[in-house]
């Protein structure tokens, strides 16, 4: 059926062309890009505004930070301690920001305090469905820097700076920093 239509069309065009007087048919007359029913999602016709899709899967290596993420699956929080000046970072980093020396791993305490916090009622698209959620920077005794985490089991009404909190771990690891989260250690 489709073939018939194509033939009809091409014969019509042949009549209109100067080649009809018995000469050879144009060689490329039947060359066509195949059509598809893909179409376009159009938001607006003036200015013409269409949907343009883009998606990527990365092959993301945690590289030097890998032990931290493996640690989460074992219920362990790993920080970085400078091998030269002894500065202790709660969030892992391969080299010391203060003196430039390499760091070694150490186990962070699982109890800390809320250094600062917020409750997010909106967010990036990826986290919108989780809102409202709490973010907190956690401080630990004997550690120089902080650790960003989710804080659950408390709301805007009862979270306080200085509130004691403790780490909990997902039973089924996703190998993301959200494998660890914090909960209030006692009623403030």
């Amino acid at each position: 059926m489709a073939k018939t239509i194509a033939n009809k069309k091409s014969s019509k065009r042949a009549q209109a062309s100067p080649a009809k007087a018995g000469g050879p048919k144009p060689k490329y007359d039947k060359v066509r890009l195949p059509e598809s029913d893909e179409g376009a999602v159009v938001f607006c016709t003036d200015p013409l505004t269409v949907k343009s899709h883009y998606e990527i899967d990365y092959i993301h290596s945690y590289a030097e930070d890998s032990p931290f993420f493996r640690g989460l699956a074992e219920g362990k929080l790993c920080g970085s301690e400078c091998t030269k000046c002894g500065y202790r970072f709660a969030t892992p980093r391969a080299y010391c920001m203060e003196c430039g020396a390499p760091t070694k791993w150490f186990d962070l305490p699982l109890n800390g305090r809320v250094h600062t916090w917020t409750t997010c009622y909106f967010g990036s698209e990826a986290f919108l469905k989780e809102a409202p959620f709490n973010l907190a920077l956690i401080e630990f005794d004997g550690v120089n820097t902080l650790f960003l985490s989710r804080l659950i089991g408390a709301t805007e009404k009862d979270i306080r700076v200085g509130m004691p909190v403790k780490a909990k771990f997902r039973r089924l690891a996703q190998f993301k920093p959200t494998d660890v989260y914090f909960v209030p250690a006692e009623k403030a």
Binding site: M97, T116, T119, L137
Partner: protein
């Protein structure tokens, strides 16, 4: 380094969405505005360009800079793209300054843009949040408003800053913008309006936070010789400074304050600095810019500031970083009216990012353009005759020319630029 002058500037009116113009046409329009405002300047005189835009994601176009340069007819002259988050525009201005100061070029165009309306707001938030550590920060709930909210919660804890003081910043900047035709928003607000608007990330409401925008801005810089030839009323770039800090807020140290010339270590005996309550990069940028400009005390030696108020909270934090008041006094500084149009040192007479909009790569250059018009005394000329936001020079300071500071800031205080501009009138 030789003296550098700004001889013209142009902007497009920032809008939430500008679907009828692509980024390159917006840049071209801002460029044409600047060229018209300096009629003796011809395109042949321009030696090259510096382009700024923050995110390749928003346009989904790599090497967008060259497309803007070719639309403006500035190829095959040298051009380069500059990027540094929210500070992209400020860095672009300073890169253009280096082009001239070093003697490499005699006349250069700094051009910036962003088209953020090409994705919805939530996706835009995601693109912006990708400018945080994608191993440790972004996956936890990457959202810049959340990061700034945590910073100001700590500021409130350390210094007693209040949400009402933050709201006063929004009220002030929006009020100024009522007299700025270029601004994206023209709202006459009260503190209650700001507090009643939807909570985004405690304690920041929708009206504490700038919006996303489409727009472009252009600043033209040149040598003294070229400025004398081409412009009757150039503005001198007196000095520039820049600073940086760790990407992750969590990594910021808790040490000692970097002191400005007029400050005393005894003021901050018990303050752990910067922690997450202050922007060390903003302090470093200010210190360097003041040193290069011979500024002893910014409270006396600067007549106005256009600073990066992506959040009302960050405006308060920046008063302190720039030494307009002591660390900890930022809340009181706005409460006492010092940064108002008629106050001791007007801050964001244009309306700032909160009211004018924040098309990231253009923002720092927009500040340069507003400061340029201020120092030329030309606000009314570019604002349909309305000169209400024209800042007056400090009284009794006839001994020096009028000065303005522009301050551009990237995510949680990672890159910050401060540039000091001075009138030649």
């Amino acid at each position: 380094m030789r003296p550098v002058y700004m001889i013209s500037g142009g902007i497009t009116k920032f809008a939430k969405g500008e679907p009828r113009k692509s980024f390159r046409v917006m840049v071209k329009e801002a460029f044409d505005y600047a060229m018209r405002d300096c009629p003796r300047l011809t395109r042949e005189r321009i030696d090259g360009s510096v382009l700024s835009y923050f995110s390749d994601h928003f346009t989904r176009q790599l090497m967008a800079g060259i497309m803007a340069a070719d639309m403006c007819g500035l190829v095959p002259k040298p051009t380069i793209r500059v990027e540094g988050g929210g500070s992209t525009g400020g860095l672009c201005f300073q890169e253009a300054w280096r082009h001239i100061a070093s003697g490499w070029m005699d006349c250069v165009v700094a051009m910036g843009f962003e088209t953020m309306s090409h994705v919805n707001t939530w996706k835009g938030n995601e693109f912006i949040a990708l400018a945080s550590d994608t191993n440790f920060d972004y996956p936890v709930g990457g959202f810049y408003s959340g990061y700034y909210a945590m910073m100001v919660v700590r500021h409130m804890h350390e210094f007693g800053t209040t949400v009402e003081q933050m709201a006063q910043v929004s009220v002030k900047n929006h009020k100024n913008a009522l007299h700025n035709k270029w601004a994206q928003h023209h709202y006459d607000l009260t503190v209650e309006d700001v507090r009643r608007s939807p909570m985004v990330a405690y304690p920041l409401t929708m009206l504490d936070i700038c919006t996303m925008s489409d727009g472009a801005a252009v600043a033209i810089l040149c040598s003294e010789e070229v400025a004398e030839k081409l412009c009757d009323n150039p503005v001198r770039v007196l000095g520039v400074g820049q600073g940086s800090d760790a990407m992750r807020m969590a990594d910021r140290p808790h040490g000692n304050v970097i002191l400005l010339k007029h400050e005393d270590a005894s003021w901050y005996k018990n303050l752990k600095y910067p922690g997450v309550h202050s922007f060390r990069a903003g302090r470093m940028a200010s210190k360097l810019a003041y040193e290069k400009s011979g500024i002893e005390d910014p409270r006396e030696d600067i007549d106005f500031v256009e600073l990066h108020d992506a959040y009302t909270s960050s405006e308060i934090q920046t008063y302190e970083d720039m030494g307009l008041c002591k660390y900890g006094d930022g809340g009181k500084f706005i409460e006492q009216g010092h940064p108002e149009l008629t106050g001791r040192i007007p801050v964001n007479p244009s309306g700032g990012l909160i009211a004018c909009g924040h098309p990231v790569g253009a923002t720092g250059l927009m500040q340069a353009v507003f400061a340029f018009w201020q120092l030329q005394g030309a606000i009314a000329k570019h604002n349909d005759g309305d000169g209400f936001i024209q800042v007056k020079q400090k009284r009794g300071l006839g001994r020096r020319k009028m000065r303005g500071a522009i301050h551009s800031h990237a995510g949680t205080g990672t890159y910050v630029t401060v540039s000091i501009l001075e009138s030649t009138r």
